[in-house]
């Protein structure tokens, strides 16, 4: 068994072929959870147990897991908003130009999350905001669920009376976090293509939060709604129109199993460049990169930067008809199910490139390594932001990179060199 000594031992509790095929092709050896393992691709339930105080799990230097212990600071809808709000206030307090506001009191550079409140906690604040714009539509999302479950739209206060009633009762008991909701202003002017609404799914790999080092997967995709988008109120209940989650779209009548209602990001770019021009398209993609990096910076201070951890997030972004991107949510466990053949290939390659970065050379890991992979192993990832490198170029790099290169079709060249993306942040 000395032959096996050098091979990575893996465990997973997610039975998906795109994962298992990748482990097997590296010659890694499958073991059980209670055995000695080097690599565990775990579901979010398991990570909770691994790092919980009760189990007292201690990971050794040659063990790596695919989640950060408190990833929910980013991936729970209410905590993400809370952290971003806190981050903005901190920047404002230190007088950072990033926190600059316009004449309406809106952040110029950091307004990328739709107005959001927690329910029932912020119910009164929400009502105040709602009344400013009584014809607006809001989207209610349960904090703890994924895949579009439990989401619904409202445009009348009466539709969420339940949360107000509960918060007013004197015998009010803090609801378990599972039943908390966030309510966000619904983007009712999404960019439509072919008359259809879509959202963007982008994959972002974080290898360390402090210093922040993150990579963006070049092959993201757009998910189109199978039914025509209309902002009319009678359609509020038709979830096929409003939600772009594939899990929901899959059950609509028009779901197509060849393309799965998905477009590559390069199709999106081609379409936007052809119909809107290169400058505004580059600006849009720059802004998308910007909001991803800012969201990570916002949670970096509170993240448990455990060196045994890396994480691949699924970012959901919606673009409105003024070509402004909005961050909707971040998923800790992006779906590894494949809805089409193309999908399977994409996810297989995603895991492959992720493993190449997180587990260098496919060998037994040492969590103390510097987490700086050579650029040849990046595959379809490109460096999104490398704090260490940014700092070595000067403390106020963020501000100076105003006139950076555009991240057009050839923006990859700058990134391939390992330098952070020089985006044209306005």
């Amino acid at each position: 068994l000395r032959i096996m000594a050098g091979k990575v031992k893996w465990v997973t509790d997610i039975e998906k072929s795109v994962l298992i095929n990748n482990f097997e092709k590296r010659g890694w050896i499958q073991v059980a959870e209670n055995e000695d393992w080097n690599f565990y691709w775990m579901s979010v339930q398991t990570i909770r147990n691994v790092f919980s105080v009760e189990t007292g799990y201690r990971l050794s230097d040659d063990q790596i897991v695919n989640h950060f212990p408190n990833h929910y600071e980013l991936t729970r809808k209410d905590l993400m908003v809370k952290n971003i709000k806190r981050y903005r206030k901190e920047l404002e307090k230190e007088g950072s130009p990033l926190a600059e506001k316009d004449e309406n009191g809106k952040y110029i550079y950091l307004d990328f999350v739709p107005v959001t409140f927690m329910l029932p906690a912020d119910y009164n604040l929400f009502v105040e905001e709602f009344r400013k714009n009584p014809s607006s539509t809001w989207i209610m999302k349960p904090c703890g669920k994924a895949q579009g479950k439990g989401i619904f739209l409202i445009n009348k206060l009466s539709q969420i009376k339940k949360w107000s009633r509960d918060s007013k009762t004197s015998s009010f008991v803090t609801q378990s976090s599972k039943e908390a909701y966030v309510i966000s202003l619904y983007i009712n002017n999404p960019l439509l293509i072919g008359g259809k609404k879509f959202d963007l799914r982008l994959y972002v790999l974080v290898s360390t939060y402090r210093p922040l080092r993150c990579y963006m997967y070049k092959l993201g995709f757009c998910r189109f709604c199978t039914v025509k988008y209309t902002p009319s109120t009678s359609e509020l209940d038709n979830m096929f129109v409003h939600l772009t989650n594939v899990a929901i779209q899959k059950h609509g009548d028009d779901y197509n199993h060849i393309h799965g209602g998905k477009w590559t990001v390069s199709n999106l770019r081609l379409y936007l460049e052809s119909t809107r021009g290169k400058e505004v398209t580059n600006k849009l993609f720059d802004e998308i990169h910007w909001i991803i990096v800012q969201s990570l910076k916002a949670v970096a201070p509170v993240m448990n930067n455990d060196k045994h951890c890396f994480e691949c997030y699924g970012y959901d972004i919606i673009i409105d008809d003024k070509l402004k991107p909005w961050l909707i949510e971040v998923n800790a466990s992006p779906s590894l199910t494949s809805s089409t053949a193309n999908d399977r290939i994409l996810k297989y390659n995603l895991i492959n490139d992720t493993l190449n970065i997180a587990v260098p050379n496919g060998e037994i890991p040492d969590c103390k390594w510097n987490k700086s992979p050579p650029k040849e192993v990046l595959g379809n990832y490109e460096v999104l932001y490398d704090e260490e490198m940014a700092q070595s170029d000067g403390p106020d790099r963020d501000l100076r990179s105003r006139s950076g290169q555009s991240s057009g079709v050839k923006g990859n060249r700058a990134r391939d060199s390992g330098k952070p993306v020089l985006t044209t942040w306005k």
Binding site: K196, V227, K228, H259, L270, G277, K278, N342
Partner: protein
């Protein structure tokens, strides 16, 4: 700006009008319009030649096209009779209202199309072309290497590689191209930046002829929509928008049998395409209007085809009761909607999208499904493809022929569709740039041959038609410009 001024003198009227035309931009518009006519209409032929010579000079081709049309019409009429559906009928008022409401989302409609079949598919058309013979030509010998070994057996003149090199000289190795010299490894200062700058200047000058020359080296993505519109002389004036709206109301009022064929085609092709499914609804909006556009009938004066005629019920044979069917004279076939689909990446305004498509059809696409001797006609393209292959890859050609995989059987569908649905969209657009730039479809045949050349090693190993098809099933990763450049300019012959 006007000439209605007291300073204008009778003596200098001629010069004043000339200056006025220049400064108002009308001179340019007139030039563009004339240039457009020159591109579209054939040169005048002998004054004694009858009109059918303008359509097609060779009698046997005319005859073959006529027979083919009869077959198509018969097929359409029998489907009509079988299903008991009239070719055309007026829509009841409530249906009209419903359709108007659903105009932007006809894709969500699920009519029962199971009984409809496409009137024909490209492979049916290929069978007809294979049987074309020139009755005046008898070569009396068995097929051999000194003859043509392909499926097309008519003696049309096609260009050889030296002629193609001259014709497509702007694709040469030492000339910058989009699709090659704008790749990530090449610094934009070498070619791309300057090319974009020139493109912007061409657009500012609004010069069709200059634009046509320019796009031979490819269009920058941000300028393509405007450049194509300039070359095709489409300006989307209010009267054009009104005309489109008129067509739309024709669609609302009358239901045509071909509408179901269009629906079926879109559902079978574009709706399943990774790139084009998003634009399904636009395709209906364009194609349904197209069927009713009688201005399309004008192109039959220079096409070998003749629009099918139908008669009002009970008045068969009576010319006063004859109408063209469909109104635009074009019966769609399987894959027809793919001519429109790529354009949706460029134009999101329905009436402009419509006009661009219509112009592309009457300039280029009609030649891909009618029998003629024109150098850009499908017969010539097939012959060009086979000749290039037989001349420059004889071993491959012979091998494929031996295993029952005549190359044209595989490449025919690519050329009939102008490669739409086979190439990645950005590559397809680079290809269509050159179709516009050279005002010719010959590049389709050259690309088809280049694809075979590229995959020659794998093709030499296959032993059946099915295996050959498999090697060539997926063209979505191909980069067209390097393939064309290598085939034309860098292959040792």
């Amino acid at each position: 700006v006007s000439l209605h001024k007291p300073e204008i003198k009778l003596e200098s009227l001629k010069e004043d009008i000339r200056d006025f035309l220049k400064t108002s931009g009308w001179e340019k518009k007139l030039q563009n319009a004339v240039y457009s006519e020159l591109n579209v209409f054939p040169s005048p032929c002998h004054p004694a030649a009858p009109p059918e010579h303008m359509k097609e000079p060779l009698a046997y081709m005319r005859k073959a096209q006529g027979s083919w049309e009869k077959r198509i019409l018969k097929s359409l009429n029998s489907m009509c009779t079988e299903l008991g559906i009239p070719l055309a009928q007026k829509r009841p008022a409530n249906e009209q209202k419903e359709l108007l409401n659903k105009w932007n989302e006809m894709g969500t409609d699920e009519p029962d199309l199971s009984l409809f079949r496409p009137v024909y598919a490209p492979k049916d058309f290929l069978e007809v072309l294979m049987n074309l013979r020139n009755p005046n030509y008898e070569n009396g010998e068995q097929p051999s290497f000194r003859n043509h070994l392909g499926l097309i057996q008519v003696p049309l003149k096609v260009k050889d590689i030296p002629e193609l090199k001259e014709n497509f000289s702007e694709l040469g190795l030492n000339i910058g191209q989009l699709g090659i010299d704008d790749s990530a490894q090449v610094p934009p200062e070498f070619f791309e930046n300057e090319h974009v700058r020139v493109g912007q200047k061409v657009l500012a000058e609004q010069d069709s002829a200059a634009a046509q020359q320019y796009v031979r080296q490819g269009c920058p993505t941000a300028l393509r929509a405007d450049l194509w519109a300039l070359i095709l002389n489409i300006s989307n004036q209010p009267e054009d928008i009104l005309y489109y709206e008129q067509l739309k109301s024709n669609v609302i009022q009358h239901d045509l049998l071909v509408d179901s064929l269009i629906y079926k085609d879109v559902k079978l092709t574009a709706s399943n395409d990774d790139y084009y499914f998003v634009f399904e609804d636009y395709l209906y909006q364009v194609l349904l209007c197209f069927s009713r556009d009688t201005s399309v009938l004008e192109h039959f004066s220079y096409s070998s085809a003749t629009p099918p005629k139908s008669y009002i019920r009970g008045k068969l044979g009576m010319e006063e009761y004859a109408v063209f069917y469909p109104p635009n004279g074009v019966i769609p076939f399987h894959g027809f909607s793919m001519y429109v689909a790529p354009l949706c990446f460029l134009y999101h305004e329905p009436s402009k999208l419509y006009q661009i498509f219509r112009e592309m059809y009457v300039r280029f696409f009609f030649r891909l499904h009618s029998i003629s001797s024109h150098p850009s006609g499908i017969v010539s393209l097939c012959l060009l493809f086979e000749t290039l292959l037989q001349t420059h890859l004889p071993q491959l050609f012979y091998h494929l022929r031996e295993i029952g995989a005549q190359p044209l059987r595989i490449s025919f569908k690519w050329m009939v569709r102008a490669f739409s649905g086979y190439l990645a969209t950005d590559q397809l657009l680079l290809l269509w740039d050159r179709i516009l730039g050279y005002n010719s479809l010959e590049i389709l045949a050259v690309l088809a041959a280049a694809v075979f050349a590229f995959r020659a090693v794998n093709l030499m190993e296959v032993t059946s038609l099915a295996a050959a098809e498999a090697v060539l099933a997926d063209l979505s990763t191909l980069k067209v410009m390097p393939l064309l450049q290598i085939f034309l300019f860098a292959t040792v012959t």
